[in-house]
């Protein structure tokens, strides 16, 4: 087990900067997820830690050791690849044993480790098969097994679930979590899927354009996004962003979006006050908007009148695509709503969960 530390790590491919001065500490035993849209540098960051790419600048530490000049095989890491990268001409057993054999482990020890890992992953009966004869899910397990038998200090996983179908993905997600709980190995997991990130990570590193946007626990990312990008990236459907002004009237603060005004709750006034009279981006999550007819004790000052463009029933709840003046708003409301396409409805915004962003710097105000 070991912590992993990046300090000022940069990777350039010619003129393109894939990873830009990342400083990051990944504590021992934690499950850390690197998440971001494709091309954000998350896979490059992982390959830098693995030693498959050489850092242009900065230092990488695994444990207490600076590993910039240590080849991948001596970094004591194991990696699971997106397309599994199993050796097609070797059996499952040989695939898992390959790394141990190269390290000259005694035969009995190799056998014990491979069988143990195979048992853990439920692939014991597949040991004599070739990868070609396995299903996607089975291949994925073999790839995990190949990493496990090495008993490394750090697991690196590069979108290991993206080639599985939706159902298997959810199942394997839980299994990887369970595996981590059991082995307690420091794990760095790369994905572009924010649901995967939220469900699996002890901590999440959100990246964009080679830069770290925010490092936090899943809940904090959701509730306290540091900027517009993180706010829009985490959560589905994405947070609503409404260009507004902050106005003051009768000692109260309002988010003024033109067609509607929403009162800022008293406990947030002091933080918001410096922005009175200036443009802001008002953010609210779809799940913080409710159908007024079904909301108890709804605040009149937090109500928006809107037209329903699209009505998407999900069973558990309903997604409404609303138009209020020039603004499009998505709301996730109670399944019992009577709103239909073409109706005019009143929705209530839970302003205690409001977000404000600086439109120039895109940073969160509150």
């Amino acid at each position: 087990m070991a912590r992993v530390q990046l300090s000022g790590v940069t990777k350039k491919f010619g003129a393109v900067t894939a990873v830009n001065e990342i400083t990051l500490e990944i504590p021992d035993k934690q499950f850390t997820v690197l998440v971001g849209p494709s091309g954000c540098g998350k896979t490059t960051a992982l390959r830098l830690i693995a030693g498959l790419e050489e850092a242009t600048a900065g230092d990488i530490f695994i444990g207490e050791r600076r590993v910039n000049d240590v080849p991948p095989k001596d970094r004591d890491i194991a990696m699971v690849f997106q397309n599994y990268a199993l050796y097609p001409h070797m059996t499952v057993y040989d695939n898992m044993a390959f790394g141990l054999r190269l390290r000259k482990y005694p035969k009995t020890e190799i056998d014990r480790r491979v069988k143990e890992a195979a048992e853990m992953l439920g692939i014991g009966m597949l040991l004599d098969r070739k990868p070609k004869q396995l299903s996607g899910g089975q291949r994925q397990r073999v790839a995990l097994g190949r990493a496990i038998v090495r008993e490394p200090q750090v697991f690196l996983m590069d979108e290991p679930l993206s080639n599985l179908d939706a159902k298997l993905r959810v199942q394997t997600r839980a299994e990887i979590k369970k595996l981590h709980a059991r082995l307690q190995t420091t794990t760095i997991y790369v994905t572009h899927d924010q649901v995967e990130a939220m469900t699996m990570g002890d901590r999440i590193v959100v990246m964009k354009d080679g830069l770290v946007q925010q490092v936090d626990t899943p809940l904090n990312l959701y509730e306290r996004p540091a900027n517009l990008f993180v706010a829009g990236f985490i959560g589905s459907p994405a947070m609503n962003f409404i260009d507004s002004a902050l106005a003051e009237a009768g000692g109260k603060l309002f988010v003024d979006a033109g067609t509607f005004r929403l009162e800022v709750p008293a406990d947030l006034v002091s933080q918001a006050r410096p922005w009175v009279g200036r443009r802001v981006v008002f953010g609210v999550r779809p799940e913080d908007i409710a159908d007024r007819a079904l909301a108890n004790g709804a605040q009149p000052a937090w109500t928006i009148k809107a037209g329903v463009d699209v009505h998407e029933p999900l069973g558990s709840d309903v997604i409404l695509y609303l138009t209020a003046g020039a603004h499009s708003i998505v709301a996730r409301v109670d399944a019992r709503t009577q709103a239909k396409m073409g109706d005019n409805v009143e929705v209530v915004v839970n302003m205690r969960k409001m977000h404000l962003f600086n439109p120039e710097t895109q940073q969160a105000i509150l």
Partner: protein, 275 residues
Amino acid sequence: MTRGGAGRTAVQCVLLLNAFLVLAPMAIMGVSAFKSTREIFQHPFALPGVWRWENFARVWVEARFALYFRNSVLVTIASVVIVVILGAMAGYALGRFRFRGNDLVYLYFLSGLMLPIRLGIIPLFILMRTLHLLDTLWALILTYAASGLPSAVFILTGFFRTLPADLDSAARIDGAGEWLIFRRIMVPLVRPALVIVAVYNLIPIWNDFFFPLVFIQTDRWKTLPLGMTTFFGQYSADWGALFAGLTLAAVPVVTLYALLSQQFIRGLTAGAVKG
């Protein structure tokens, strides 16, 4: 349905015709090997009146067939082995590593495809004489190996490129060095391509008459095609024995092809699909 059926029949007719065109000369060769020269000219397509096995015996003994056969096998195997090994190493480097001059080296190899090596016979002859390799099997082996490399590099570079990039990353993390990755992971995966390269080079080398004719003078070092000329006299030729010799010479290649054809075809189509 019926249109498809008609199309299939037409295709099969064409294939049958092609098979006939290929097999008929071989059959005539095989049958003629049992005839006397006189019979061959009188009844070229008939079965022999008497099956003259002695033609084969004469070839084996009189024409020192065993010696020529050994020389041919030595030259062919040595050349093909060199082509496959060097071709695989060059193809691996060119197909999987980005380095300065990569394209240039690749083009240099490819330019060999455009140059008929027989055009260089005079400089080659002078080179071999300077190296004191004239009238040795090495003259043939080196020439064949060099002329086989361009196509080998071309085919193998393409194959190595199609292998997933993460495979070497995985092996590198597993602890394999470059040589091990090449030997244990990459080479086994391009085996169909190696078979293609081997077969593709084997037949022309086995059949070649030109270079032995130029490089080899001593009877001891003659290869089969050159050795067969023994049966051409200045005024007459022993056609029966010649056909017997040709039949014997064809047997190993045909057998090898039959054995490897599965892999060969699989390799060709794999290359075609992956581009």
